[in-house]
Amino acid sequence: MWQNTKRVFLDSVEHILNAAAQLLPSVLAMLVIFIFTLVLAIAVRSVVRRLCNKLALDRRLREWGVAPVSSDSWASPTKLLTRISFWTVLLLGLFLGLSVLDTPVASAIDLRILEYAPRLLVAFAMFAIAVGIARVVERNVLIGAVNMGMQSARLIALGARWLVVLLGAAIALDHAGVGASVVPLAFGILFGGIVFALALAVGLGAKDLVARSLQRRFPDAGSAEAPPEQEEPRGGIHHV
């Protein structure tokens, strides 16, 4: 009895040790990949930080109104980019490291993630750029509309901002392969709706301005009143 138990126990231990011995090179390879990935992630973070500092990215983005003016340097665009680049490299390395274990489930998951990750990253970058552009567009449209005397300037600026954000979101989702045909359809409906709202805002908020512009452009179109030969400056003042 004791001999049988001992044999079974020793067989089990031998089996485990054999399995561990077979797995050990893979584990070692995984650990090497992890360490290499960590070093690479730190290097990438350093390169990204230096590049951002050289381009004065924080100042430029604040200047354009893309990044909020804040004394909190923790939330600066440079910090954000360095963190994103660090964790992206680290996560990709993690999945790469797991794939060397050569278990069927891990390999299948890793393969799909590694295939999908670049598309996801590009889509994310597209959306982030679109959000940045949207803020620049919003500020420009707001200033322009205020200077034109449009009472609904804020509404028009917001509309312009969301148009760009929606466009960016639709392109990013399309690139990431999310939503298939639903995305273009939803985007078309929303885009059309915002354009319609903007048209109403311009028409109602600046109808006099629009009327004057149309009258100048089409002087013979149904108006008995002769158009002025030259546009009268705002308030009757010649600024230059």
Binding site: R139, G149, A153, E231, E232, P233, R234, I237
Partner: protein, 408 residues
Amino acid sequence: MSATSTGLSAVAESRAGGEILIALEAADRRSATDSAAAIRARLSERFSGCNATVLVTTAGTDPALVDPADAPDVPPAAPTLAGAAMAGQPSVLRTVLEEADRRGARAAALLSAAHDESLDWLGHLFQPILEADFDFVSPSYRRNRFDGMLNTAIVYPLVRSLFGRRLRQPTGSEAAFSVTLARSLLAQPAWRRDPAYAGSPAWLVGSILAGACRACQAWLGRWPGGAGPAEDASHALARIVGPWFHEMERHAERWQRVEGSEPVPTFGQGAALDGERSDVDVAALEDGFRLGLRELESLWGLVLPPATLLALRRAAAAPAGKARVSDPVWARIVYDFAVAYSVRAVERQQLLRSMTPLYLGWVRGFVEDVRELDADGTEERVEALCGWFEREKRYGIARWRWPDNFNP
């Protein structure tokens, strides 16, 4: 305004002589030829010993000076009297300076349009250089009170307080200069460092006022440009005021040491034109100011200190027909925007265009103040504004040195 006229009767005739070079920006070949002939005739009559050469400037990527008779097709000129030289375009001024240097001309001028022929405008323009050893003459014109408002509201008071010299119309692209000054300007490193900007009207006047050369101004009669094409206030602000903020950066060490201001020698009589219509729509100006405060206050918060924003809120809260930006607040606002331009608190074009409602708010008060005044009264009102710019200069210097401190 009754400008002081400097007499030069005691100057010896014998000092006249040499070549006068005039670069003319003409609308077309025919008018260029006619203007050149008329100018030559008048100059030879006025300065008998001088040999006048009139050339026309050709626009394009490589500006050149050609004889109007040889000019194949002088392209229509843009209205350049008020300084329409665009950043990024090759400078016509440099071509004129080089030509004056090459010819060794005693005096040279860059002119834009036909002038008031009832006056001795050529005499006023060249006499200071040929007979009184001035290096630079800034042409000034009699204009309606509400024309050239950017000059009245910002450029004249600002330039005067910065450099301490009362050059009444420093915004024009016209100028007359001696060959000594031409050579000195050509030697400036700015042509190499910032070729797109060097040669612009603000660069020229800024270089002269910050330097040690002898500058004066000459009143050349009525403004020859007429009412001019209407230009949107925000575009005009960005185009005219931006280069002057740039000049503040260039000469920061110089202007921080200047206190007060003194008149520059003036030739000819200057005053605003009388009999002007006064149908300025102050309600539109006031609406523009209120709308700007409502929508752009958050943006202005990056530029203006809380005290100024509070003053603006109070101004906008006034009953209809009473809202206005006062002179001291306006002077501080201009300094604050100059600082924001320098530190790039907001993208520069956005910053300058966002200043428009504030400018309209000040103009609204100015129009109300001078509506019933004559030319002299209007000039006194402008003097009062300039006084505020000079008094608030300490504030401007403090903001410039410590831009992050909103309560100097």
